[in-house]
């Protein structure tokens, strides 16, 4: 009996030891993220999957949207297979820095706080934060939100803004939940991206309206780990190329009937 226990213990220790060894040799090697992506033949990019029309699951349960298609175009230009994945918004940056995927292509605004942790590509579209309220609401803009109950997605710039405005903040995993909860009468307003808001109202016939000016404008970028400058360069080149040759315009017009660059 003692022998078996020892055997198990030793094999466990060996397993752990070799496991550590393997990961060490990986990080010590000079292969860049871009080399690995090319070797694997696939580019994995993450998003929340709850941000229509930028990224969402369609009726066939396929992850699609503007962000997904931009990623497909980038993958095509570096000759690998696109692999979009959906994960919780507030875990995206942590997932990227711990190498769960190669980049975040999910309508992430470029902010100083995020730049401390990750690099961003050149902006791939511009939009802004919008206050959205029920049609019969008296709220006419950001200043009226003090003390009101406002719905936002956890970990977004909208959440930060809502707290700045002195609102009682309720957080959700995605905008569809927030919009639904406003329909249920639990929210006075939702703050989200203007395009996302317009799309939700149109698609679901919500009795909502957009009020006030944009609270601020945002530039969206593709987040990439700081240890992957080669990938960043390749992504920026691909973006520039598709902005110039009309591919970007085509994708943008498909979703928004406008060029949102």
């Amino acid at each position: 009996m003692k022998k078996i226990t020892t055997l198990i213990l030793v094999s466990l220790i060996l397993l752990v030891a070799t496991g550590c060894g393997a990961s060490k040799s990986n990080s010590a090697a000079t292969t860049t993220t871009l080399d690995r992506i090319k070797a694997d033949g696939k580019l994995t990019y993450a998003m929340s999957g709850q941000y229509p029309p930028f990224n969402f699951y369609n009726e066939q349960n396929v992850l699609t949207g503007f962000d997904v298609e931009i990623g497909q175009e980038i993958a095509k230009r570096i000759n690998v297979k696109p692999t979009p994945i959906a994960t919780e918004w507030d875990g995206l940056i942590a997932g990227l820095t711990t190498s769960k995927f190669d980049m975040i292509l999910g309508s992430m605004a470029i902010t100083d706080e995020r730049l401390e942790k990750v690099d961003f590509s050149t902006p791939y579209y511009r939009s802004g934060a919008q206050v959205i309220v029920p049609s019969d609401s008296k709220i006419s803009g950001g200043v009226d939100l003090k003390g009101k109950t406002v719905g936002v997605v956890l970990g977004t710039t909208f959440e930060t803004k809502a707290r700045e405005l002195g609102a009682t903040v309720k957080t959700y995993k995605g905008d569809p939940d927030a919009f639904n909860d406003m329909a249920n009468g639990r929210l006075d307003a939702v703050i989200t991206d203007k395009i996302v808001g317009l799309n939700a109202i149109k698609k679901n016939n919500y009795p909502y309206k957009l009020v006030g000016d944009l609270l601020y404008t945002e530039k969206m970028g593709i987040a990439i780990r700081k240890d992957s400058p080669k990938l960043l360069e390749a992504v920026n080149n691909a973006l520039t190329a598709m902005l110039n040759d009309g591919t970007y315009k085509k994708i943008s017009e498909k979703y928004f009937s406008a060029d949102i660059r």
Binding site: D90, A94, K117, G151, L154, T171, N184
Partner: protein, 223 residues
């Protein structure tokens, strides 16, 4: 990778606030659960057709995840015209969920008391309710206490699921700051430590209660 736990200090007041809400949810949820559990246990051992309601309730609640139940209550019920606040939904969800498990705990305790005692009480002229209150319950509680405590601890931890229906309890507060500061390890460790402190206090309290309730057995040296 570097860790900087000093960041927790800056956000400590908010985390404590979140922990306060966690305690509030757990206490109310468990209190509600005890009430439902007791009723369900009595119905289940009763010989009336009402026992099928209890059977159904326990089957339904134990057979579905709490997370699904919370979503149904918070996001589903408004479609039927019942719109509860996030707080009410959370207490209701935790209550009916723990109630199903507590019902079985109570039933186990009650059924562990030999039938002879009930017969003896009735031969002494005690009514059904009086027997239950004076003879059965005090002993059943003592037997059920360890399992009860178990369920209390589970419910306390389960209250973290209420974070998905917009409750700013301990987990959601930690998530919020982890997503702003990107210090996931620090904030989730802090959350884990807070939960551990709460469950430790609860365990100790339950153990001392068990000790006090078993006094008679200890002094008489028999059971």
């Amino acid at each position: 990778m570097h860790l900087d736990f000093s960041i927790i200090l800056k956000y400590l007041p908010y985390l404590l606030q979140g922990a306060g809400l966690t305690i509030e949810l757990a206490v109310l949820g468990i209190a509600f659960g005890i009430l439902i559990g007791l009723v369900a246990a009595l119905l289940k051992i009763s010989q009336t057709p009402l026992r099928f309601i209890a059977h159904f309730y326990i089957w339904l609640i134990r057979g579905t995840p709490l997370l699904v139940q919370l979503f149904l209550i918070y996001f589903g019920l408004p479609q039927l015209g019942i719109t509860l606040s996030a707080f009410a939904s959370s207490v209701l969800g935790l209550g009916i969920n723990s109630g199903a498990y507590l019902a079985e705990v109570f039933r186990g305790g009650i059924e562990a008391i030999p039938k002879g005692q009930t017969e003896a009480s009735s031969s002494l002229g005690m009514g059904k309710f009086l027997t239950l209150r004076r003879i059965i319950f005090p002993q059943a509680l003592r037997i059920a206490l360890p399992s009860l405590g178990n369920q209390f601890i589970i419910s306390l931890k389960d209250s973290s699921l209420c974070s998905v229906i917009t409750m700013s309890e301990l987990l959601q507060t930690s998530q919020r700051f982890a997503s702003v500061t990107f210090a996931s390890m620090e904030f989730y460790t802090a959350a884990a430590v807070f939960y551990l402190m709460m469950t430790t206090v609860l365990s100790v309290a339950l153990r001392s209660l068990e000790w006090r309730l078993s006094k008679e057995n200890r002094t008489r040296g028999c059971y």
